[in-house]
């Protein structure tokens, strides 16, 4: 059975529904072999439960009435609400929280007969870029167990890269899908803000959070996006739009033939802070692009230098507000209340329940929203955000897409970046732009450097996912390195 891509799996089980059970057994075998080493999952569903779900899918397959994702085992980041399945945000404060409802994206996956296989590790409340901020344990990069898988959707990317799932959902506020996709050799797509419903996604920074797929190919990502995208009456920020064709069709068009497009590189995105091997790899990739009729222009946009501080001010401000609700009263961490006033209980719950990085961001966010500082920080950041958006959007009137290395560095060693928050925040420099501007961005594997995956980021204008998927699928077709299989699982998969 071919299991290299999600599309392969779907095709196989459609042709022979019995293979669904075989595929599940096979996936759990891989999990048994690698999960102890990589630790992608916070909650892995019992194989028996998954097989029970599979029986229902099987019956539909037999009748020819199965949905578009029949056969898919999807790993879901643990900040996306799943009815009856523990959803922790990798935080002590939600360690035992079981949502009474499904996020919209989960409803949509299930209605297309995808099976949720488990909930994946992440940085606590999606705050981090390495998955080391999980309150439970760090996840390790399947390409090098001494390195981080990136974050905050590190568990989702690792589960996908190590074939512990067919594909995964992540969430991306400042790069949390694209960073781990890049570090683990996956495709990670952050859609236009509002294209995918946030209902059920546990908020970090509401004005930038988006759910998106992490997969092994661009086409796989397009298929998942087809299922999860679209307006939702439960999310007031969701956009009511439809495209003439499916995203999968756009991706297929790209993979079939030559696409002409004007690409642009913003010099500041490959400036200081970028590691030498990343830079040289990026130049090599550009030569490939140019050899395939893609025109690449270099341009300077100095305002991009303000993206990182702007992003962190806005994200922390919104986080301090979004995380106010965790007080242990209605759900979440419980502490004894006897003889204590309500605010003593709240303080104890929050002191014990939140990790260090979460507390840091709540405190900084509270500070930038305080009377007297609001204008100097939050309001100014909001203005700079608008300027950055205007610059990118006007650039995207002239060019089809902006390209850059997704990450300025190779996957860091565990413990290497986490010691210094500023050094940690700095690696988000190229990914935060898309979130500030609300535009779509994808990271696709573009190279292996010293046996470690490197990602290429492509950004398009808002709601141009059709173009984004077409171009990145085209690039993927001539770079010819996906789907990547890390050495850790090579023996089991191929």
């Amino acid at each position: 059975m071919r299991i290299l891509t999600l599309l392969d799996i779907i095709k196989e089980v459609r042709n022979d529904p019995k293979l669904l059970f075989e595929y599940i057994e096979y996936t759990y075998d891989i999990i048994n072999k690698v999960e102890d080493k990589v630790r992608a999952y916070i909650t892995l569903r019992d194989k028996e439960h998954v097989l029970r779900d599979a029986k229902r899918v099987y019956d539909k397959l037999i009748k020819g009435r199965a949905g578009r994702l029949a056969g898919a085992l999807i790993a879901v980041k643990d900040n996306i609400s799943t009815k009856g399945l523990r959803t922790t945000c990798a935080s002590r404060i939600l360690e035992d929280y079981v949502p009474p409802y499904d996020a919209t994206v989960i409803e949509r996956l299930k209605s297309e007969d995808a099976i949720i296989i488990g909930k994946t590790n992440m940085d606590e409340f999606a705050m981090g870029s390495t998955t080391e901020n999980s309150a439970f344990f760090p996840t390790k990069n399947p390409w090098d167990l001494n390195r981080v898988p990136g974050g905050s959707s590190g568990g989702s990317a690792t589960a996908t890269a190590a074939f512990e799932a067919s594909a995964a959902l992540g969430s991306d506020t400042g790069g949390s899908i694209r960073a781990p996709a890049s570090f683990t050799g996956c495709v990670g797509l952050k859609p236009t803000y509002g294209l995918v419903s946030r209902y059920g996604l546990i908020a970090y920074a509401s004005s930038m959070d988006q759910i998106g797929p992490i997969t092994r190919t661009v086409k796989d990502a397009a298929l998942i996006l087809d299922v999860i995208a679209g307006p939702d009456s439960r999310d007031a920020t969701s956009i009511d739009i439809s495209f003439p064709k499916t995203f999968l069709e756009y991706a297929e068009e790209g993979s079939r033939g030559s696409v002409k497009a004007k690409l642009v590189v913003i010099e500041e995105m490959v400036g200081e802070g970028i590691e030498r091997p990343i830079y040289t790899s990026f130049i090599r990739v550009i030569r490939h692009l140019e050899a395939n009729e893609l025109n690449v222009t270099w341009i300077s946009k100095p305002i991009v230098k303000y993206a990182l501080p702007t992003y962190y001010i806005i994200a922390m401000a919104e986080a301090s507000s979004n995380l106010a609700r965790y007080d242990g009263l209605r759900y979440g961490l419980h502490v004894g209340v006897e003889g204590k006033s309500w605010y003593e209980v709240f303080a104890e719950v929050r002191s014990r329940g939140f990790g260090k990085e979460v507390k840091r961001r709540i405190l900084l966010g509270t500070y930038v929203l305080s009377a007297g500082y609001y204008q100097a920080y939050y309001l100014r950041a909001s203005k700079v955000r608008r300027l950055i958006r205007d610059v990118l959007v006007s650039l995207l009137k002239t060019y089809d897409c902006i390209i850059s290395p997704t990450m300025p560095v190779l996957p860091p060693k565990l413990g290497e970046r986490i010691v210094d928050p500023l050094k940690l925040y700095a690696i988000d420099v190229n990914t935060v732009l898309a979130n500030l501007a609300g535009i779509p961005a994808i990271s696709i594997p573009s190279d292996l450097v010293n046996g470690l995956p490197v990602g290429l980021q492509v950004m398009c204008d808002e709601l141009r996912e059709n173009l984004l998927l077409k171009i990145s699928s085209y690039v993927e077709s001539f770079l010819k390195i996906t789907p990547l299989v890390p050495p850790l699982v090579r023996g089991y998969v191929i």
Partner: protein, 485 residues
């Protein structure tokens, strides 16, 4: 020495006309349901839930803004107001704010109130749309008696309008009259049903000349509002007279003890860290939308008062009281006069008798109106017209109906009617003539003095004697008296 008083009000009004809550599809009618059963992920603030605006709330808010002559903002922006409190599921309230990057749905405006026969314009500062928190329940009645508290989130997320006035009110009475007028406007608009407990809640800021202001919270009713403010005026005046200074603080009204109790000192403005709610995109408020609502506004209290004066010849005073005490009172008035006519009499019965007795009995207007309903009111008017009862007895009838919830016809059956037995009345007149010899002599010289004698006869018959007959007999007796002397 008395000081100038300044009062500003913050009035929280539930939009009870809505079927669902402000940001979710739970029922807006939370009253009487078992605790925490009228909730969903949104109004419980569960992780991942998102608010979606109930657009009908905006329509209702625009109605109120138009009725209060306020200027409606062209964009609707919701703001998060942060404070930790157990009844607030997200530990922030989705509200509105007047500041950079934010704006309330409407600013400015005014309400005219009638105070001692003159019209006073009270300015409105702003109107906000916001969500109601849950309700704290003290299992043993009060905070001090309860070893623990419980929270019922059924109310959480119900749509509120917060209406803030300028400090234009100059006495506790003006404050009460203002809230009454506002409630009447809201009821006429059909936005709020003031009969529902907790549908209109008032916080007051009160200061006396040259002193810090004090916020009084937990005021449950109109009557309590006047009482609480009267208490505060006295308390603050006493402090200043004894050479002290009023401190800036929040005080709670304790209705069982009839005093205010210090809740917390307010040395600084609380920092609510307002910022625009990223879950709710700014919404353009279309001019056409406003014009449509404007065109469909119902008759408002001021228009109705004017109509009552013109159409029924009522005094401005009677008309104002009828309309502003409660819409139900004005409605009863109009319904009754279509049946039994006599608008002036009916208005006077309702304003001068009915309101007095419900006050005495401690009944709300609504409880009172259940007793003095249209049928009973009309049958009383009819009894007067037929001469079965006198004006004086009419007052007694209204009193009995309100206090004892009886049918007017039962009172007739009991014999509470005009005395028309001439012989009996003659006997009483004779008694009075004997007792008040000097008055009789006066009456011979001055026909106006007859009234005294009539009054005495009425007193002895406890108001039941038919005044016409009494007059006739007295005049006849006086003529006889003149002849004989």
């Amino acid at each position: 020495m008395s000081f100038k008083v300044k009062v500003g009000l913050e009035i929280h009004v539930q939009i009870t006309s809505l079927k669902t809550k402000l940001f979710c599809s739970c029922s807006a009618d939370y009253r009487g349901k078992p605790p925490n059963t009228n909730v969903c992920p949104v109004c419980m603030g569960l992780p991942g839930s998102l608010p979606v605006l109930n657009i009908k709330a905006v329509r209702e808010a625009v109605k109120v803004a138009l009725a209060l002559n306020s200027k409606i903002n062209n964009v609707l922006i919701f703001t998060r107001k942060h404070y930790f409190y157990p009844d607030l599921p997200k530990n922030y309230q989705i509200s509105q704010y007047d500041g950079i990057g934010s704006a309330p749905i409407a600013k400015g405006g005014y309400i005219n109130i009638n105070i001692d026969g003159r019209v006073k314009k009270v300015r409105v500062r702003r109107i906000n749309i916001e969500e109601d928190p849950g309700r704290i329940v003290y299992p043993f009645g009060s905070i001090t008696k309860s070893p623990y508290t419980m929270i019922d989130y059924n109310r959480s997320g119900v749509a509120l309008l917060e209406i803030v006035t300028e400090p234009d009110l100059e006495s506790p009475k003006e404050a009460r009259v203002f809230v009454q007028k506002l409630a009447s406007i809201l009821e006429h608009l059909g936005v709020t049903n003031p009969k529902l407990e907790g549908s209109i809640r008032v916080d007051a800021n009160i200061s006396i000349e040259g002193q810090e202001r004090v916020e009084v919270k937990n005021i449950g009713s109109l009557k309590e509002l006047e009482k609480a403010l009267t208490y505060e005026v006295a308390r603050q005046t006493a402090i200043v007279k004894s050479g002290g200074k009023v401190v800036r603080e929040t005080r709670h009204w304790d209705k069982t003890k009839n005093i205010t109790i210090s809740a917390r000192l307010k040395e600084f403005e609380e920092d609510y860290r307002y910022f625009p709610d990223p879950d709710l995109p700014a919404l353009k408020i279309d001019r056409k939308f406003i014009e449509e609502i404007k065109a469909s506004l119902p008759e408002l209290p001021d228009e109705r008062i004017e109509r009552f004066v013109k159409e029924y010849g009522l005094s401005n005073y009677l008309a104002s009281v009828l309309v502003t005490e409660s819409k139900d009172l004005a409605d009863l008035f109009e319904e009754a006069i279509t049946v039994c006519g006599n608008p002036k009499l009916v208005a006077s019965i309702l304003v001068n008798e009915f309101l007095r007795w419900i006050d005495e009995a401690g009944l709300s207007i609504y409880e009172g109106l259940r007793r003095l309903n249209k049928d009973r009111l009309c049958s009383i008017v009819e009894l007067l017209r037929k001469g079965v009862i006198s004006t004086k007895l009419l007052k007694e009838y209204v009193k009995q109906v309100v206090l004892n919830d009886v049918e007017p016809n039962d009172l007739v059956r009991k014999g509470l009617t005009v005395l028309i037995d001439r012989e009996f009345i003659e006997k009483i007149v004779d008694e009075v003539f004997k007792e008040y010899r000097n008055a009789v002599l006066d009456a011979l010289k001055n026909p106006k003095a007859i009234n005294f004698l009539v009054g005495q006869v009425m007193r002895k018959t406890r108001g039941r004697a038919d005044p016409k007959i009494v007059n006739e007999i007295i005049k006849e007796r006086l003529r006889r008296f003149e002849k004989s002397s």
